[in-house]
């Protein structure tokens, strides 16, 4: 197990370098970070040249990247457009998005798995068909459409919730945005658990469990669920990173000042340190989430553990 963890950690390194370099390349090589500093004004050539030198922008790209990463690992993420250090923005934004993601994952697990298990066990019945049609619809309607619709209905028309979230973003205000963020993934979790349950129901070991005279409840919870949920757990784990990245749309709709909001601002204002800094952290979150999923997988499935 220990060796497995180390091997996975080592595999993460090239992926981390590759992903961050790719983003770095897009921002620094395709955009013009210096011009962005001056906004609409034309930069004074001498000043621009000095800034380039200070930021290592006159060096080859790989040197710039190394310089940037070196600074990041010393805790220096650079300065945002409003003069604040990027780390300060992160300190305020990440907890908000983390709360939003927690709410979303919660709904994914509770509603998604429940619906999936129920419809998987009643495959072909009306409950199953209804759930299938619903998930199809949910997957088809893009998040930004459902977001505005639900905001309009619950926030404006019926006034059940605040249409926008206050800056400190407490959990109770994040319920609706959390559901909106979770919705598409929730539908996938439902379908995945349904398929998995429906396949495993026919498995020989389930037949054995029935032949042992176990009560149906025990057959389902102890034998069927544990095996069926392995792929679902994997999906939810990899989804954590995707949710944090995908929160941009939701945060924009509900005016939540989280990671997506800051990133969006950073991109609009062409502020490279903000963009690359946030993306780097997101990539790390994504990789760590994937690692945890792999480890969890090994815990859930002994065949992997001893392989």
């Amino acid at each position: 197990m220990g060796r497995y963890v180390i091997r996975r950690l080592l595999q993460m390194i090239p992926v981390f370098i590759g992903s961050t370099f790719l983003i770095f390349f897009m921002v620094y090589a395709l955009g013009d970070p210096v011009a962005a500093l001056f906004g609409d004004k034309a930069p004074d050539p001498a000043t621009a040249a000095r800034i380039r030198r200070d930021l290592y922008l006159d060096r080859p790209l790989w040197q710039q990247y190394l310089h940037y990463m070196g600074q990041i690992f010393q805790g220096d993420f650079g300065t945002a457009f409003n003069g604040q250090p990027v780390t300060e923005l992160m300190a305020s934004a990440f907890p908000v998005t983390l709360r939003l993601t927690v709410v979303a994952i919660f709904f994914e697990i509770v509603i998604g798995i429940t619906l999936g298990v129920v419809s998987g066990l009643r495959r072909g019945r009306s409950v199953d068909t209804t759930v299938l049609v619903l998930t199809l619809v949910v997957i088809s309607v893009p998040t930004f459409v459902t977001g505005y619709l639900l905001q309009y209905l619950f926030g404006v028309k019926w006034g059940w919730v605040r249409p926008t979230v206050s800056p400190d973003a407490p959990f109770n205000q994040l319920i609706l945005p959390g559901i909106v963020l979770a919705l598409v993934s929730l539908a996938y979790v439902t379908r995945l658990s349904r398929t998995s349950i429906a396949e495993n129901v026919k498995a020989d070991y389930v037949r054995t469990a029935v032949a042992k005279g176990l009560p149906r409840r025990r057959v389902v919870t102890r034998h069927l669920l544990r095996n069926s949920l392995i792929p679902v757990v994997t999906f939810i784990g990899t989804d954590i990173g995707a949710l944090m990245g995908g929160a941009i749309v939701t945060e924009r709709i509900f005016n939540i000042h989280g990671v997506g909001y800051q990133l969006y601002q950073g991109i609009l204002r062409n502020n490279s340190p903000t963009v690359v800094g946030f993306v780097t952290i997101l990539v790390i979150v994504f990789l760590v989430a994937n690692l945890l999923v792999d480890l969890l997988y090994a815990v859930l499935d002994p065949r992997i553990r001893y392989a």
């Binding site: 595999q11 090239p14 992926v15 981390f16 590759g18 992903s19 790719l22 983003i23 897009m26 921002v27 395709l30 955009g31 495959r123 072909g124 068909t129 299938l132 049609v133 199809l136 619809v137 997957i139 088809s140 309607v141 893009p142 998040t143 930004f144 459409v145 505005y148 619709l149 905001q151 309009y152 404006v156 398929t195 396949e199 026919k202 020989d204 990173g241 995707a242 944090m244 990245g245 995908g246 941009i248 749309v249 924009r252 709709i253 990133l263 969006y264 991109i267 609009l268 062409n270 963009v275 993306v279 997101l282 990539v283 994504f286 990789l287």
Partner: protein, 333 residues
Amino acid sequence: MPEPEHPAYDPLQPGQGEAIAPTGQGGPMDLALDEAESLEKTLGDQPSGPREKARSLWSDAWRQLRRNPVFIISSLMILFLVVIAIWPQLIASGDPLQCDLSKSQQGSAPGHPFGYDTQGCDVYTRTVYGARASITVGVCATLGAALLGSVLGGLAGFFGGWGDALLSRVADIFFGIPVVLGGLVFLSVVTSTTVWPVVGFIVLLGWPQIARIGRGSVITAKQNDYVQAARALGAGNGRMLLRHVAPNAVAPVIVVATIALGTYIALEATLSFLGVGLRPPTVSWGIDISNAASQIRNAPHMLLWPAGALSLTVLAFIMLGDAVRDALDPKLR
């Protein structure tokens, strides 16, 4: 979507109750059968072997598709969308860019059933014309990603070795970048108003998924006995890959690509909504929804029509993908 009735028992499907399967396996009594089967496998090096297998998979799938209402409905919807995307004039006589500010946000009027948007443009005409951008992006991005992904994934799976390892790591790198985020970063530096940067970006982030599927199915197909037999009989790599492996590995790629088409259309709309996808004067549902969103309290019709059209389009492709998957993947029947 599988048929809503009870899953019918399929006597050819193993695992559901081998006892009544009409063809047996193992045991001295099934000697004749075993022999016939192994004969078929050893004959696999002849092109008729795997090709026939592939052909029967396709004709089986086609027979099942034709009876599936989900497939019929979704393909009619898609046919309609494609026709509209090519000839929007067929059902919309107006010009989507000809707007009258005095009619800003007005409701439906004779000849203008969906009303007007903030600029005073006819929402119906714009909704009809919006199909073109979505369909173009969806189809082109899917073709690109599927081609790139299946070629790279297929080669990596077939030859293995360091190329395979490299491809897997490169795919991991692309998986490490959240899609919407990557789109924001990448497309915000592009200034073109055509659909091609969006298509290019989707291909760039979409191919690893297809490569992964293609690689997996090539590895599975490669392990089939008749492929091994063909190798043993000295078939060359190119012939093996094209004649024996590819026809049997292509089904999962088609399934994933069809479903991806729907999600790519949704992705294009999301990027356009965020202001980095398509740009005016291209008529796009994403842009229209974005513009309408801030006015949802005053004029919800501006949001509902393009949003409905977008959702139905995505739905049609996802339904098609579902139907194709059910037909091509006997395991899921």
